[in-house]
Amino acid sequence: MIDKTVLDVAAAVAGIRDGATVMIGGFGRAGQPVELIDALIAHGAGDLTVVNNNAGNGDTGLAALLAAGQVRKMICSFPRQSDSWVFDGLYRDGKVELELVPQGNLAERIRAAGAGIGGFFTPTGFGTQLAEGKETRRIDGRDYVLEYPIRADVALISARAADRWGNLVYRETARNFGPIMAAAAAVTVAQVDEIVPLGWLDPEAVITPGLYVDRVVAVGERPWLRDGEFVGGVDIEGRPLAEEGAEQ
């Protein structure tokens, strides 16, 4: 029997080594595998290269991993945000490297890694600082930059549900980088709200087929859902709303 289920997040992140390249799903907080990141902090692997769209928000999740000093380099498109103080401080102190990649090139380079493409010509970034030193070519009258795949040792992603084969379904815009990171890493670990029996996921609607997934771990339902249905009652960070009377 194929069973990619692991019992807890510690088992899910076991074996991640110092110096590894780790893709972490999510766009801002949506789809960020916070429980897996917490487990990676507890696990302690350091000198990591982390691939994510951003560089952490507030003090939790990816920001906490950065604060723990485990990250040597970030590959991302948009590190600087109103709440990226952890990264900002480390960067200004020279304690973390940054490779800045336009968001669509980041996505396509990750996709290329999973799809066995050795390189591709993209129009994005042509003529800008972010393409300096890169090979360019004019094809059919349009200018392109040659970009290469970004691969990873491990991908940590978040999805709504899985089955024991590792098939995944996502929810709304929390899908974002999950499917392409799952395909681009040697080992892919998915945290999900729930693991359902094999055959419960609609094969027309499986977004990440199980062959891309190595381990799945159930971490419980998000606070804004009940039995898979949206019930709300939280703020954008997922924290329960204060009582109406207490609101400022």
Binding site: F78, R80, R92, Q129, E172, T173, N176
Partner: protein
């Protein structure tokens, strides 16, 4: 010289009035997001958000905020009937492949050749962040810029050549400013519309640039 300047909201309305029914539109972070509030009621316009959705709706009521459903600015949004979700590579393939009709973006500078600078002022020590700006710049049939004509310090934002780092080359089709609307043509900026009593000569003087009529 006193010139007419319209408000940010009026400018958003002006941009919105040029977007036809059925258009697929991406509104950049910041001021362009305002355009959504002025899209004509009753017309169906499909909003794309590059974090993986078509058919984006308005902000939710308090209590109905869904952390899984956000726009590119990471603000909570809703989904309209007819919406679809997709992953990031598919989302940017839509842009890069030319399937969006209109992107509306902010700018530090736009050059007469249609170059856009909107991601970095090149300040030493600043933390660079580009996000989807470079993809958006080349990612629609029409790229509209929405901006003030001048910086707060009075420097022109429509320029002969950008001094700030470029976001995209030859990508802007039209610039909506607080003073008027300008098309980017092979011969440089062409005045499309001037607000209030603004004259061609006044705007040329403000910019230090010749404009096509």
């Amino acid at each position: 010289m006193t010139t007419t300047r319209i408000s940010r909201a009026a400018l958003a309305a002006r941009v919105a009035s040029d977007i036809p029914e059925g258009a697929v539109v991406n509104l950049g972070i910041g001021a362009p997001t305002l355009v959504a509030d002025f899209l004509p009621e009753g017309l169906e316009i499909v909003l794309h958000t590059e974090n993986g959705m078509l058919g984006m709706g308005a902000a939710p009521a308090r209590g109905q905020v869904d952390p899984d459903l956000i726009n590119a600015g990471k603000q909570p949004v809703t989904a309209l009937a007819g919406a679809a979700y997709f992953h990031h590579a598919d989302s940017f393939a839509m842009m890069r492949g030319g399937h969006l009709d209109v992107c509306v973006l902010g700018a530090f500078q736009v050059s007469a050749g249609g170059n856009l600078a909107n991601w970095s002022t090149g300040e030493p020590g600043a933390i660079p962040a580009v996000g989807g700006a470079m993809d958006l710049a080349i990612g629609a049939k029409d790229v509209y810029v929405m901006t003030d004509l001048l910086t707060k310090g009075g420097d022109p934002k429509l320029v002969a050549a950008c001094s700030y780092p470029l976001t995209g080359v030859g990508c802007v089709s039209r610039v909506y400013t607080d003073h008027g609307v300008f098309d980017v043509t092979p011969d440089g900026f062409r005045v499309r519309e001037l607000f209030g009593d603004n004259t061609h000569a006044e705007i040329e003087q403000l910019l230090g640039l010749e404009l096509e009529a």
